[in-house]
């Protein structure tokens, strides 16, 4: 079936089977940041935005996104790199496999929540698992990143 949608601000047209999963279609379209980390809909590695909202691309049928707007890490490269520097400075990444999905959800969070407290942050990111770290570095990176954004905004 033919499906048209907007991927990282560009209109794309793909021919997919009715049971093709968005995650695989996005990877075939070159968005290799999108990863599959589980078979149970639990890890958050496959996080992309659909119409600006964080979603699990492993559970979305590609045929169902016709007319919608998809954003992957490749579409927010600068912002992702900026937050990525905070992650690196805190030594928060080990294998880094979880980072793209995690960064997408952090960037969704800063759009949705104003001045979130630590509990709110933890709750927002509870669906992003990391097998290597203990999340402490990530939390430090987020706190510093939020403070930096606040300052930059004045």
């Amino acid at each position: 079936m033919e499906v048209q949608f907007v991927l990282n601000k560009k209109q794309v047209k793909v021919d997919v089977g009715p049971d093709a999963v968005l995650l695989n279609v996005l990877r075939e379209l070159g968005c290799k940041s999108v990863k599959c980390g589980c078979e149970t809909t639990n890890c958050g590695l496959c996080t992309v935005w659909i119409d600006g909202k964080s979603r699990l691309s492993c559970s979305v049928l590609a045929v169902s996104v016709g007319g919608h707007e998809i954003t992957t890490l490749e579409g927010v490269e600068e912002e992702a790199a900026e937050f990525g520097r905070f992650l690196a400075e805190e030594g928060a990444e080990q294998c880094g496999f979880c980072s793209p999905g995690f960064i997408m959800n952090v960037l969704a969070m800063v759009r949705e929540l104003e001045d979130p407290g630590i509990e709110e942050i933890k709750e927002y990111l509870a669906g992003n698992l990391c097998r290597c770290t203990g999340y402490m570095g990530q939390m430090r990176a987020i706190e510093k990143y939020l403070a930096y954004r606040k300052e930059a905004r004045g």
């Binding site: 079936m1 809909t41 639990n42 958050g44 909202k53 559970s59 979305v60 049928l61 969070m109």
Partner: protein, 267 residues
């Protein structure tokens, strides 16, 4: 793995209903549950173009479209005004924000899952489900019906002055509940009435109604006795998350906390 031969985005409810009458057709909610199964689906029917993704408030009811996401429930002001933070509490542990941006209220209620927080919460309220063919029926009746080929259009909660509390016990924050429990109270036909819904026993949520007048200054001992009676009125089972005995104990503790919390607020 599940397979789909044909995907149709329905243009009308009638079309969706007709397509769904075939044995190998399935209605698509958020797909979260369905995609983990092994179904060989001939026609998958997408309801997302039918305006079922809204929450509407009238003078008497809150009507939640079947395609509303769990995140919409969590953030709904109308439900918050009526029931406080309890509704958000009932869904906030479900996997993560990304997941709740996609899993639907319709799929959650239609599925009548044993572990369902969503079902446990709505069952304690004055809730109805609106079906395409079957009319509007009480959720407490719908829960015990066999799954059929009808379409669930909306979940309707009648407004009223009610107190609502929700708690669950989980082994980790985002796991399925070991036990889930909702308590609602209010004046019904001039009489103080308490509703207790307990789910993940691990059987699906069931409802208990009691015409109790619990004094606002009831002692902890008295509240414990009420909670014991409530917990003993349900049946429990054993699975990898907990034994029947443990679940009954948890039920008593959660009911006690919920009653105490309601009384404390009204004191």
């Amino acid at each position: 793995m599940f397979t789909i031969s044909n995907y149709v985005k329905a243009k009308t409810l009638e079309e969706a209903y007709e397509l769904n009458q075939a044995r190998s057709s399935r209605v698509m909610g958020g797909m979260m549950w369905m995609r983990l199964g092994n179904a060989r689906i001939k026609t998958l029917i997408d309801l997302s173009g039918l305006g079922l993704d809204r929450i509407e408030e009238t003078d008497n009811v809150i009507r939640i479209g079947a395609m509303c996401t769990l995140r919409q429930l969590e953030q709904c002001d109308a439900l918050k005004r009526l029931f406080g933070d309890g509704v958000a509490e009932s869904v906030r542990h479900i996997v993560g924000v990304q997941f709740r941006n996609q899993a639907t209220v319709g799929g959650s209620i239609y599925g009548r899952f044993g572990f369902s927080d969503v079902l446990t919460a709505f069952l304690a309220m004055d809730t109805f489900v609106e079906l395409y063919n079957g009319g509007t029926v009480r959720l407490s009746d719908f829960v015990n019906r066999k799954q059929d080929k009808d379409l669930l259009l909306s979940v309707i909660v009648r407004k009223g002055k009610r107190q609502f509390r929700y708690e669950s016990i989980r082994q980790t924050q985002t796991d399925f509940p070991v036990l889930a429990c909702a308590t609602v109270t209010g004046i019904v036909h001039g009489q103080e009435t308490w509703y207790f819904s307990i789910g993940a026993r691990p059987m699906k949520a069931a409802l208990l109604e009691k015409k109790w007048e619990i004094p606002r200054d009831a002692s902890e001992e008295m509240i414990r006795e009420y909670a014991q009676e409530v917990a003993a009125s349900f049946t429990y089972g054993t699975n990898m998350r907990g034994s029947a005995e443990y679940r009954q104990h948890l039920a008593e503790v959660l009911v006690r906390r919920e009653i105490s919390s309601i009384l404390a607020e009204e004191r």
